[in-house]
């Protein structure tokens, strides 16, 4: 019933097969390795930010003496703004989105639906190779004028982003390329999932991972054009002197000849958040899908409420398009508009809540295998509960008045993006590592990594809630300068200590990951005894030393038929009659 086919044997004979491969598995691995590299970059940026917040204006190790030796090693406030802008840009556009959609999306979609490859392999390759020019532009934006990179935050609100930072243009270019890369990927995923499913793989037999990636791809395809257009308008404002976002009477003595005029800064905020709020779901939905698969597999129990899971995911995506205004409650837009966005924002908690309840019910009554991947999945669920609940608090516009642009917001989105998305990514890497590389990651190190990460991320981000309630604003190079926040400085130090520990804990992961590539225990073809198609290959692929391309000729059931009565084994692969 199963045969291995596919181009891998051919690829192996090409000398540059790894560089310019159109094989979706190779591209997935390329995304994975690149995103891990960028993760290290973004993490070090975060540590520099934390250092400055805990011990303002002291010499930052390495970075300070490298860039600001003349200045006694202390960074400048402008450079602090560059740091958090780059941290956010790298983490969002070069880590979370590429690792979820790019790495797991590319690697898993064709395998899980039983396709040979993506529908458009060359577009797929292009989408990866656009990431490097994009990263190059991002680097250029920092070095083109030393100490003066893009410094208006990842939100790049005009007029600030238009008038005061020439480096912003490179940043915009970088995001444009990333956006195009994502759009190419999205088109590819949608086409592949709709057109290339193996017979019997109905839409409601797709694994949740594929559903998450599909919904994400739809979000990207619909939202990214708006961001792209907005970015082009911003670029035109800056370089061509148009006036989409810059109002007529902005005073700018620095560059009077640059001032266009006649535009509306609020328009940018609307356009930007019309993309960037769905982007939040782009960064979490695939993780939700992966966690659903892992929880079900390691509970040896069917996923609870498959259909509600699918429909709540679609509901999140749909509602996700009508909640962007909650980023603008205090922007000065009509207060009635805020009131209506408040309702839609509250309501989006409902499908999210349903998913949480379904995960809880999936675990309940299961026979849990506490592998590292399972621990990360459980960690995802618990962190998502905390991050989601603080989202309900800030959905109220009146409450948003006190916590808007404070560390409460920072705490919230780090619980969701680090606590949830990245934990799911770590879990996913542990889970699919055997499929990708034919070896298993070290379980003990994985659990150690989980324990340290879980404890320290809470130590880092939990106190931020309280700093935010006290009113400590984000994006302050030195909050201790404000008299009212000076007594919070011990907390800032505590947070930084935890962040340093959190950064160090990731060394365990990197050691485990790269060590396991070489010394990892060889895994069988289906080490987790999972049902989904990617585990059902029968012989290793000689080129990559991992399981080969699988094409099941027919799928008979959904992916969650674990512990079905009357069977010898507690799993039942989808392609087994």
């Amino acid at each position: 019933m199963i045969e291995t086919v596919g181009p891998s044997g051919v690829i192996a004979r090409r000398r540059l097969w790894w560089l310019f491969s159109t094989d979706h598995r190779v591209i997935g691995c390329q995304f994975l390795f690149s995103a891990l590299l960028w993760l290290a970059v973004g993490g070090l940026l975060a540590l520099a930010i934390r250092w400055q917040l805990a011990w303002p204006w002291t010499e930052i190790p390495v970075l300070g003496r490298w860039l600001f030796a003349d200045n006694g090693g202390q960074i400048t406030p402008e450079f602090y703004n560059v740091l958090f802008t780059m941290h956010a840009t790298v983490m969002i556009f070069f880590v979370v989105i590429p690792v979820l959609s790019g790495a797991f999306g590319n690697y898993l979609i064709p395998l899980m639906i039983g396709a040979h490859d993506m529908a458009f392999p060359k577009l797929n390759m292009l989408s990866y190779w656009l990431m490097w020019p994009a990263f190059g532009l991002l680097l250029t934006s920092v070095v083109v004028a030393p100490g003066e990179g893009p410094s208006s935050g990842w939100t790049a609100y005009p007029p600030l982003s238009v008038l005061f930072s020439p480096a912003q243009g490179y940043w915009i270019g970088s995001l444009l390329l990333v956006g195009v890369a994502s759009m190419l990927g999205a088109i590819n995923y949608i086409t592949t999932i709709f057109q290339m499913r193996v017979p019997g793989m109905t839409m409601l037999r797709l694994p949740m991972t594929v559903w998450g990636l599909l919904v994400t791809a739809v979000l990207q395809a619909l939202a990214l054009p708006v961001l792209t257009a907005a970015l082009l308008m911003l670029l035109a404002d800056q370089w061509l002197g148009t006036g989409f976002f810059v109002p007529a009477y902005v005073l700018n003595e620095a560059q009077p000849e640059m001032v266009p005029g006649g535009g509306d800064p609020l328009l940018w905020q609307h356009l930007f958040w019309f993309y960037s709020h769905p982007a939040v779901y782009i960064m979490i939905l695939p993780a939700m899908g992966m966690v659903s698969d892992m929880l079900s597999c390691f509970s040896r129990k069917p996923l609870f409420g498959y259909r509600p899971m699918v429909f709540s995911m679609i509901a999140i995506a749909g509602l996700g398009f009508v909640v962007w205004g909650h980023h603008m409650f205090v922007s000065g837009m009509n207060y009635l508009l805020s009131a209506s966005f408040a309702v839609s924002t509250m309501l989006i908690a409902l499908p999210s809540g349903i998913k949480v309840f379904n995960w809880l019910a999936t675990v309940w009554g299961g026979r849990l295998q506490m592998t590292a991947a399972m621990l990360f999945s459980l960690g995802f669920v618990s962190m998502f509960i905390v991050g989601g609940l603080s989202g309900i608090v800030m959905a109220s516009p009146a409450v948003d008045i006190v916590i808007h642009d404070t560390y409460y917001i920072v705490a919230h989105f780090h619980y969701v993006l680090f606590g949830s998305s990245l934990l799911a990514v770590f879990g996913g890497i542990h889970f699919w590592f055997p499929r990708m590389f034919g070896r298993q990651m070290h379980e003990g190190l994985g659990k150690l990594h989980f324990l340290l990460t879980y404890l320290l991320l809470n130590g880092t981000f939990l106190p931020m809630h309280w700093l935010g309630l006290r009113g400590m604003p984000r994006r302050y190079a030195d909050p201790s300068i404000v008299e009212g926040f000076r007594d919070l400085q011990p907390w800032n130090e505590f947070i930084t200590w935890c962040a340093i520990g959190l950064g160090a804990a990731q060394l365990v992961f990197f050691a485990n990951f790269f060590g396991s590539l070489v010394w990892g225990r060889r895994s069988g073809l289906n080490p987790w005894q999972a049902n989904t198609l990617e585990w059902q290959a029968v012989e290793p692929d000689h080129a990559t030393k991992v399981a080969g391309q699988v094409v099941a000729t027919r799928v008979w059931r959904g992916p969650y038929e674990y512990s079905q009565p009357g069977r010898a084994t507690d799993f039942w692969p989808q392609n087994e009659p």
Partner: protein, 417 residues
């Protein structure tokens, strides 16, 4: 803000594999050296490096380093310490790297709040300087714009305090009003310290011109460049002479500038908009604006700051006037820019249609700007105007932003091609 965890630093250094950073030093005034070469030497000839080394040594001996500042103290015949221009204890608070101890005693205030724009040396060329317009002040010329004293007189401590507390609106200079008083005092003294050090450095370079190849001071024994000045075998007579310049020339300027502050007379009652004479006073001021006071020449006929816009300020002119430099030819600027000068920008007269006044918008402030002029800029003092006339101009100035300027705006736009 306690002492940072140095063992983590050590760990990161080990990981980063990088060498310890060099101690922070004052940057020598290379612009001054090039100016000296341009004036005194043949083209292409370089100043004898001995001079730069000797000046640096003298400065380090008298003023110390950014981490360990010194300030010369003079004792008069009776053994009393002469009036101190700068309080050494305050200097210590402001100097050095940023840190604070467990009792929350902060040191390194200058580097915490000022150095990223004004530079460690106070040369107005910190890392952030290039993106600011106007540039941050270069203290080394000893010129400060907003003060109560006449031109060519240093500001009083209260003038500097005011600038620190309110900031300078319309520029990159923010307000530091939330700092405690003792920290403001420390910063004031440190700014004076940097200004005096910088002025003295320039004074020494101008002295070099008269030496005709001779040493600035003879050296008896060879010692290392960073040896304490007492041990480095200076010729006593020469040393006395150099120190005497500092005392008589540079420091004397800074002694008790408050005694020379301009007294602001009481404003006329008509300055109050409710006073019946108000409209007339404003009209008088308007007439003066266009006639006797001739404000219109620079500030433009609608006060938009669009009159004379081709000038540079003194900080640019300091080197733009050197031989071989053309103000409109950037290629001739290069040696100076490489030496650390900021690319010169034309100075714009203030746009008086906006109620933004850098030196403060109170009637007294505006009076002082017109009476004394603004140091370092083309804004002149006005000895020919009586107090009453200046008050009339103040009244007009304060009314300008709120008048319906459509008429003048229309007139102005009517002139456009």
């Amino acid at each position: 803000m306690k002492t940072p965890p140095y063992f983590v630093l050590l760990l990161l250094v080990l990981l980063g594999g990088c060498r310890p950073s060099p101690p922070v030093a004052f940057r020598p005034n290379t612009v001054e050296r090039i100016k000296f070469e341009r004036v005194n030497l043949a083209e292409g000839e370089q100043a004898d490096p001995r001079y730069a080394a000797q000046i640096e040594r003298l400065l380090n001996g008298l003023f110390g380093t950014p981490d360990e500042p010194k300030f010369p103290q003079f004792v008069d015949e009776s053994g009393q310490v002469a009036q101190a221009v700068v309080n050494f204890d305050r200097l210590r608070l402001a100097a050095g790297a940023v840190s604070s101890d467990r009792t929350d005693q902060h040191v390194g205030l200058y580097r915490k709040h000022c150095a990223h724009c004004h530079g460690i040396t106070g040369d107005g060329a910190g890392p952030t300087a290039g993106m600011l317009n106007p540039y941050p002040r270069d203290y080394r010329l000893g010129k400060f714009k907003f003060k109560t004293t006449p031109l060519r007189t240093p500001p009083t401590d209260d003038d500097l305090r005011r600038t620190l507390e309110t900031g300078i609106p319309g520029t990159g200079m923010p307000s530091f009003s939330t700092l405690p008083d003792d920290q403001i005092d420390a910063l004031i003294d440190y700014v004076k310290y940097l200004a005096i050090r910088g002025e003295y450095e320039k004074r020494l370079w101008s002295e070099v011109a008269g030496r005709d190849g001779q040493d600035l001071f003879p050296e008896k024994t060879a010692v290392s460049a960073d040896a304490p000045i007492a041990e480095d075998g200076l010729d006593d007579v020469m040393f006395e002479l150099l120190v005497e310049w500092l005392k008589e020339d540079t420091l004397a300027r800074w002694e008790n500038p408050g005694g020379r502050a301009t007294a602001v007379p009481d404003p006329p009652a008509a300055l109050d908009p409710r006073d019946p004479g108000y409209r007339e006073l404003v009209e008088t001021g308007r007439r003066l604006f266009y006639t006797k006071a001739n404000c219109v020449q620079c500030h433009g006929d609608a006060g938009l700051g669009d009159g004379q816009t081709e000038n540079h300020d003194d900080w640019a002119n300091d080197w733009l006037k050197s031989p071989g430099v053309q103000a409109d030819n950037p290629a001739t600027w290069m040696p100076f820019l490489e030496a650390g000068a900021m690319p010169p920008r034309k100075i714009r007269p203030r746009n008086l249609s906006l109620p933004v006044y850098r030196g403060g918008g109170s009637p007294d402030d505006l009076f002082l700007r017109m009476e004394n002029g603004i140091e370092g800029t083309p804004m002149p003092s006005s000895p020919s105007l009586s107090d009453e006339e200046i008050w009339a101009l103040v009244a007009h100035l304060r009314a300008m932003p709120y008048e319906q300027t459509q008429a003048s705006a229309a007139a102005s736009s009517g002139k456009q091609p």
